[in-house]
Subunit: 235 residues, 2 copies
């Protein structure tokens, strides 16, 4: 770098993309948007992660930009937003050297049911991907997000953010199991959750054709809890 603020060299394109997860229909799903079907845009008509260019006039920082894009597509703000990583190379965008800052968000089932943007749609995750072929390197980013989510669910309380405001312990366990793709032991799960200072019972029960279940809610402004052991370490 020379002196006198020599900033007249070409700069990469800078974008932010958000991997938005929710549990719908008893499955882990991700929100995708369809790219415009104009030939002048890269990947016309393809599905992609919600995202776009950083607006240096409007976005104060990267996270604000991610929140904006999330809000644009879902109308809600996520209870959990974490930076996933960044991907930048000469090849990932045909328009030139570009770098994207990827975030991942967890939405409660209630929030995921609201009014989506017209070009947005939920897709079920199968294994570590989704059926349609994704634009750019978004398949790779999505895979990283799924791996990160699965890894953290082994030893954190992240699935709590996928729940509606009131939920039962069996429902919470089901969310863990959906993300992990394997069953968990009921009693170990219960003691872990109840000793974690994460949730609190409310004076209501979930009724059904069987024994009612205690309803809980997340404790106020609760950051994710980290456990000292993973679940059920697959040998």
């Amino acid at each position: 770098m020379s002196d006198r603020a020599g900033l007249d060299f070409p700069r990469p394109l800078t974008t932010v993309d958000v991997v938005i997860f929710a549990i719908k229909s008893d499955a882990l799903q991700v929100l995708l948007v369809q790219r415009p079907d104009t030939e002048s845009e890269p990947f016309p008509g393809a599905w992609a992660l919600p995202g776009g260019f950083v607006d240096i006039a409007g976005d104060r920082d990267l996270e604000a930009c991610a929140v904006r894009k999330l809000k644009d597509k879902t109308g809600v703000v996520s209870p959990y937003l974490e930076q996933l990583g960044s991907w930048g190379s000469a090849a990932r965008d045909p328009r030139g050297w570009s770098a994207t800052h990827a975030y991942f968000a967890l939405l409660g089932e209630h929030a995921a049911g609201g009014a989506l943007a017209a070009d947005a749609q939920w897709f079920t995750i199968g294994g570590e991907k989704v059926k349609p072929k994704l634009a750019f390197d978004h398949a790779e980013i999505l895979q990283a997000a799924i791996q990160r989510l699965r890894a953290k669910v082994e030893y954190t309380s992240l699935p709590a953010y996928l729940m509606p405001p009131e939920f039962t312990l069996p429902e919470l366990q089901r969310s863990f199991e959906i993300v992990l793709g394997r069953p968990l032991e009921k009693s170990a799960f219960r003691t872990r959750m109840l000793t974690a200072d994460l949730i609190e019972p409310i004076a209501k029960m979930r009724k059904g054709p069987n024994r009612p279940a205690q309803l809980y809610r997340l404790k106020k402004a609760k950051a994710p809890v980290f456990f000292a052991r993973t679940f059920n370490p697959p040998e």
Copy 2:
């Protein structure tokens, strides 16, 4: 985004910074570089993380850019390089909206002793920072790197990358303890490491004024090992 590749809007500055850790003099240290003392540059004379602008002609991708900056300052390539996160905002660089992609690298004690660039120097880490006031938001990035390193050392084998090619188990344990800032139990440490399929004994011993210690080396091209429990979970 309109059609016809309307890319003529202002782009953020894009940089890569690397937090380079090594153990020297029985302490965790980080490599910093001094910024040029010209008034036309931001933070003249201040210490900063090694880094700089992405060169869209020369750097194939972000990681290649990070490797280049690491090599420039230390002359070596790191056995471990992990993406840490990105920081981008209107305020962090007086020259305008900028985003940096931060990496962190672990260097073996041997590699950290080589010939540094003239403007580079090692600094001991105290707590979660370093004595000099850092340029930009680099104090925040350094703090995040230290927290990430400490957190991962609880349940991974990362300190193995801070070792020279041949080392004893007590030496490896000492590296864990330096990073964590607390002592570990000898026998639990040994069984954990030896069952991890991480290191292998070589036909040599480390001599001293006492019982010789078995020397080990990292197994070939070994990715970090994840343990199912943390050490010594602080209550």
